[in-house]
Amino acid sequence: MNLAGNRTVAVSSSILLFVTMLAVVGPWISPHEYLTTDFSHILLAPAATNMQFFGTDDLGRDLFVRTMLGIRVTLLIAVVASLVSLVIGVAYGAIAGYVGGRVDAVMMRFVDTLYALPFIFLVILLMVAFESNFFLIFVAIGAINWLDMARIVRGQTLSLREREFVEAARLIGVSTPRIILRHIAPNMLGIVVVYLTLTIPQAILVESFLSFLGLGIQEPQTSLGALVDAGVNQMEGASWMLLIPATLLALILMCFNFLGDGLRDFFDARQK
């Protein structure tokens, strides 16, 4: 079985690809600007006329362009969160697991300590201490995302380092960094990739949650979470303001989850 032959993977990755392309190209082809207010056109329902496919909000801004912008931010957060989790989490977990002993104990207690910090409190503190900005959201989400990955990778490493092919490499004289890079890491690829695709929706949700609380992306910038927040306030008069970003958010989350499931099936099958 190959990856392209897996229908769940094929369908969900095509949808994600399409949404990404739309988010990149959409604002560029639309005649509207994301921060131009137009009080003669507030709360317009979606229509093809004047290319306002998703209607306008209570300030008369074009929602299509704003939604595409929101998707950009949301996906960017997904990418950054997964990169942080991949780079820091995998390196940290692999080192702790392979070196073992005291180093492992100290490294993992540090992870436990970070886990114990109340996340929302941490974010509020950050927001108060510094001016709320884009970068802080990434820091906050990245800071929690690599913890799970580090634990998973450490567990895998612990079992892999007992395997005979790792021992054979030790006997040959392969250096420790090279053993981790060439013998341990590639054999964790399956589980890391799967876990990554499951981390992404988690990061997106956290961002949406923060934005929904008003702690995340600040106006006039926007994200899907912030759009949903704005939509909730206009739910009765302009339901599209809520429905469109909420549906897109759900669609993206679902696709990432299905992608993760599909990848897991694929790697499981190859293990056998």
């Binding site: 005979e164 006997l171 040959i172 392969v174």
Partner: protein, 587 residues
């Protein structure tokens, strides 16, 4: 009419035949052996007889047990047969027993399921059966869990469970493959003693077992039944070329010339080696105790013993994979100590290891060319990649693989090919000592013969010294110059191969030799030479650790541990080494 009649049985998976047009029959009370290499379809056939094949299997033909058709029978009908009319014993007892249920209850289930007994009567019958299969203290064992028993004891439980309903047919699929030779002999003897009138279908890769235990034999090759007949006549004049080929490669402990002893200088010497494991709390498990050995240039030194004898621990400590508690290892005039990571690059280069399971020893994510080339990239980083590949190809050719294998992954190799790749990786640096840890144990007869020949050729060409860890004495006899016998972490006997096999000095050595099945029905059937099993390393017996199982033990043996000393050119640790005469059955 025969008890079991199989006619035209074929099994296919997704169109690919694993068993093709197999027909045979088993009469009441008869013992029939099925032999064949891995993938010959023998186990698939056995599963078909019980209706245990997975749903994806496409089965055709007919299997009749006492006139009743099994192929296509309902699950209900099959459940009435299984356990009641057909008993089965598998190789892996830990898989076959429920880890969360006391063994007594598991065996009793057979009686309850088929309504043969209930309540106290059932318990009594289970305990009777436990006594018959030789489980010590049946009442206590009734409540024991599978993990609390040794492999041999678990196989006895399996036998009890398979035979308690007095079935017409017992199917035993490699029942002793996972056991030590001395325990194997006990189980085979027990199987013969207690089966009464139950017919036996014994599936094995070991011709020695069939020769001693089965009246008729069936030979499988690539899913087909190629040869069948009475065991004695098939061994005397095989009807099919494959039977002859199997016989030719089966190692024999009673035949063949011994490799001449080698009188070169010693390159590796080990003195008073000790390996100790922490066993929870303050308990210590002494896996290797005061073992001396020496290895000469160009020599093959076999290390033999049952599981738990410390043979693997000893060589792993020498290699620096586990810590050596105390003792002194000298290699080429220099001390060899500390973990392998801290040793000099030259020392790393000179010692290589080949494992039992080649697939586990190869990184599944690397191609053959990277696996075999890795030692070069570590030790000779100045080589260009073309030069490296050229060396890889030469080494692969040496082990009998061509450059078509370069880009393959380990899962695309057969067991024999994977072991060749592992050997190529070990040989590419031209080490001076190669350690083979049960390196041929998992291979089929024909492949094993090729791998052994390959090691011998390499040794003759380059003067390679080999430490050959093995539980299979028949193989050891054919390739080693000297043999070190270990028991419970101690040196038992260390001598030239010929001395060990023709004139053993230690009762344990002799027992090991006598337990090896000989693939020849003319040689008398082996009786189990040893009672009981290897003792616990956490609380070893007093005095000589072997004395509880030894037929020659005197008072002194339980009081004082024997020192190893030289007796007639052999190094032996036995109080009675000079006053007893030991002649092995097949010398």
């Amino acid at each position: 009419m025969s008890l079991l009649e199989v006619s035209g049985l074929s099994i296919r998976y997704a169109g690919e035949a694993v068993v093709e047009d197999v027909s045979f029959s088993v009469d009441e009370g008869e013992s029939v052996g099925i032999v064949g290499e891995s993938g010959s379809g023998k186990s698939q056939t056995a599963l078909a007889l019980l209706g245990l094949l997975p749903k994806q299997a496409d089965i055709s033909g007919s299997v009749k047990l006492g006139g009743e058709e099994i192929i296509g029978a309902t699950e209900q009908a099959l459940n009435k047969l299984r356990g009641r009319r057909v008993g089965i014993v598998f190789q892996d007892t830990l898989q076959a027993l429920n880890p969360y249920m006391p063994i007594g209850k598991q065996v009793r289930q057979v009686l309850l399921q088929h309504e043969l007994a209930a309540g106290d009567a059932a318990d009594r019958r289970v305990m009777e059966m436990f006594t018959r299969v030789g489980l010590p203290d049946p009442e206590r064992q009734f409540r024991a869990y599978p993990h609390q028993l040794s492999g041999g004891m678990r196989q006895r439980v399996m036998l009890a469970s398979a035979l308690i309903a007095e079935p017409d047919l017992l199917i035993a699929d490699e029942p002793t493959t996972a056991l030590d030779v001395t325990v194997q002999a006990q189980i085979l003897e027990l199987l013969e003693d207690i089966r009464d009138n139950t017919a036996l279908l014994l599936i094995t890769h070991d011709l020695g077992i069939v020769a001693g235990r089965c009246e008729r034999m069936l030979v499988f090759e690539k899913g087909r039944l190629v040869d069948a007949g009475p065991t004695t006549s098939l061994f005397a004049s095989p009807g099919h070329a494959h039977t002859r080929a199997l016989l030719d490669v089966a190692p024999r402990i009673d035949r063949g010339t011994f490799p001449a002893p080698i009188k070169t200088s010693t390159i590796l010497s080990v003195e008073a080696a000790e390996v100790v494991y922490e066993a929870g709390g303050s308990a210590q498990l002494r896996a290797v105790i005061d073992v001396d050995l020496s290895l000469r240039k160009g020599e093959t030194l076999a290390v033999v013993g049952e599981s738990g004898s410390g043979k693997s621990s000893l060589v792993r400590a020498i290699l620096g994979l586990i810590p050596m508690h105390s003792g002194r290892v000298v290699y080429a005039g220099e001390a060899l100590d500390g973990p392998v990571e801290t040793r000099s690059i030259a020392q790393k280069r000179d010692f290589q290891l080949v494992y039992q399971d080649p697939v586990a020893a190869l990184n599944p994510q690397m191609r053959v060319q990277s696996i075999v080339g890795e030692p070069l990239s570590v030790h000779e980083p100045s080589l260009s990649s073309q030069e490296r590949i050229a060396r890889v190809i030469t080494t692969l050719q040496k082990v009998g693989l061509d450059d078509n294998y370069l880009r393959r992954y380990p899962h695309q190799l057969s067991g024999g090919q994977a072991q060749r790749v592992a050997i190529a990786r070990a040989l590419i640096l031209e080490p001076s000592v190669l350690v083979c840890d049960e390196a041929v144990a998992a291979l089929d007869g024909s492949v094993r013969a090729q791998v052994l020949a390959l090691l011998r050729t390499e040794q003759n060409k380059t003067g390679l010294s080999i430490i050959f860890i093995s539980h299979d004495l028949a193989v050891v006899r054919s390739i080693s110059h000297r043999v070190l016998v270990m028991y419970m972490g101690r040196l038992v006997e260390f001598a030239d191969c010929e001395k060990i096999f023709a004139a053993p000095r230690h009762p344990y050595t002799r027992a090991l030799l006598d337990a090896v099945p000989v693939p020849d029905p003319v040689v008398s059937v082996i009786v189990a030479p040893l009672k009981g099993e290897v003792g616990s390393l956490l609380s070893p017996p007093s005095g000589c650790v072997f004395h509880p199982r030894c037929g020659y033990a005197k008072e002194i043996c339980s009081e004082r541990a024997p020192e190893s000393r030289d007796v007639g050119g052999s190094r032996v640790a036995c109080h009675r080494a000079d006053d007893i005469e030991l002649t092995p059955q097949h010398s």
